[in-house]
Every structure is written in structure tokens, then in C-alpha cells.
């Protein structure tokens, strides 16, 4: 006989209370970053130089700007998932922990947004 409530069975959230969503998102973003990360490092090798003109014309090219946007979002998401676990494991005290977790989310959203704006400013030619 199971002691679990019918609602608990349907939600399938387990003792962590959020099911497998975090675990699964971490794995999917990891797989995506294998491709995006390899592309990023490979692209840097292909550049003639890292001078301003070469770097900006690379970012502004349609394919690289799309890939950089994906990289920025996926990297920020994966990073926020990882730092979240570190906070959950090491930060003591429920109030400190909750505040740290929220600040972690805010900061990673900020990083993603900043990266998106930077890439778009270059790609869409903000006089750069």
C-alpha cells in the first residue's frame, strides 16, 4: 500500500517539490552548450584577428549573431541552474537562502539581457 496521496502521485514532484524539471533543464542546456560552445571556440579560431573591426564584423554576421544570442541565453540559463544548486547546498538559513536564490535569478537574467542587447546593437548597426 502506498502512503502517497493521489494528488502527490499526479504532481510527481517528490521530496524536492519541483520534480525533474531542474535536472532535465540542466541536461538539455548542457547538450545544447556542447554545440554552441564548440561553435564559439571554433569561430574565434577562424577570425583573422581579435581587433575591433574583425570582431564586430563577425558578431554582426547573421549566422554568428543568431548563434551568439542562443549561446548567451543558454549559457545564462545553465549557469543560473548550476549556481542555484550551489546556493541550495551551502547557504544556511531559509531567508538568506531564498534571497540568494532570487538574486541569482535576477543577476542571470541581467547577464542574458545585457548580452542580447550588446549583440543586437552590433548586428543591427547602432552606429557601432
Amino acid at each position: 500500500m502506498s502512503m502517497r496521496t493521489p494528488l502527490g502521485k499526479v504532481l510527481g514532484a517528490g521530496s524536492a517539490k519541483d520534480g525533474t524539471a531542474h535536472w532535465w533543464a540542466q541536461r538539455v542546456t548542457a547538450a545544447a552548450l556542447l554545440v554552441l560552445g564548440a561553435w564559439f571556440l571554433w569561430s574565434l579560431l577562424q577570425l583573422d584577428s581579435l581587433d575591433y573591426a574583425d570582431f564586430v564584423s563577425w558578431i554582426g554576421a547573421p549566422f554568428s549573431s543568431v548563434m551568439l544570442l542562443l549561446l548567451a541565453v543558454t549559457l545564462s540559463y545553465h549557469s543560473s541552474l548550476g549556481v542555484q544548486v550551489v546556493i541550495e547546498d551551502y547557504v544556511q538559513g531559509s531567508m538568506t537562502k531564498v534571497i540568494s536564490l532570487i538574486l541569482n535569478k535576477f543577476f542571470h537574467y541581467f547577464l542574458a539581457a545585457a548580452a542580447l542587447v550588446a549583440v543586437l546593437r552590433i548586428a543591427l548597426g547602432d552606429g557601432a
Partner: protein, 124 residues
């Protein structure tokens, strides 16, 4: 709830430190280091968006001795996290859980990390 004084069961300190434990904590440490590296990556993109002068300021900073050291360290952390991440994905798929397999894959990750880091900087 005050648990400060309660006795704890023996934890990590009772084991002879195996290579798999080293890689486990290094995965977390390299992940945190790469999160810090993400900030620098965003600053790099942002400096380019601000124009040639701020881009040159940024690249000058990263080409200093400390900047280069950090870049090498971040590339090492990246390749380690990548190689060990693949090891984790293989485990998640249900393979490689035997102790000897975990030890072999640990050394494979270490060698791959060193080779990839060296190869990248030689190619750059």
C-alpha cells in the same frame, strides 16, 4: 530550529580520497568559475557594442599578465567542465557506473582537458 551542536555522522573525511571525488568537486568548482567567466564574456560583447575605444580598453585589460592567466584558467575550466559534463551525460544515459569504469573515465577526462586546452591555445 537550532541544530548547531548536534553530532554529525562521519562524512567525506573518513574515506581515502579517490580520483572520482576530486573530479566531482572540480566539476562544481569549474562551474562556478565559468559563471564568473560568463560575466567577463558579457563585458567583452558589451565593450564591442560601445565602440572601438572601450573595446580596446577591454582587450588591453585581458592581454595583461593577470588577464591572460585568467583566460587560460577559464579555458581549462571550460574544457574540464565540458569533458566531465559528457561523462555525467553518459552516466545519465545509464552507462559507466562500475567503480573501475568511473576511475578510467576520470583519467580520460583529465587527459582530454589538458590536451584540449593545450591544443586550443596552440591553434589560436
Amino acid at each position: 530550529m537550532n541544530n548547531a551542536g548536534r553530532p554529525l555522522s562521519p562524512h567525506l573525511t573518513v574515506y581515502r580520497w579517490p580520483i572520482t571525488m576530486t573530479l566531482s568537486i572540480l566539476h562544481r568548482m569549474s562551474g562556478v568559475a565559468l559563471s564568473a567567466g560568463l560575466i567577463v564574456l558579457v563585458l567583452w560583447l558589451d565593450s564591442a557594442a560601445r565602440g572601438a575605444n572601450s573595446y580596446r580598453d577591454f582587450t588591453d585589460l585581458m592581454q595583461s599578465a593577470l588577464g591572460r592567466l585568467l583566460l587560460v584558467a577559464w579555458s581549462f575550466a571550460f574544457f574540464f567542465h565540458l569533458a566531465n559534463g559528457v561523462r555525467h551525460l553518459v552516466w545519465d544515459a545509464g552507462y559507466g557506473f562500475e567503480k573501475h569504469q568511473a576511475r578510467v573515465s576520470a583519467w580520460f577526462v583529465i587527459i582530454a582537458t589538458i590536451l584540449l586546452t593545450a591544443a586550443y591555445w596552440l591553434a589560436l
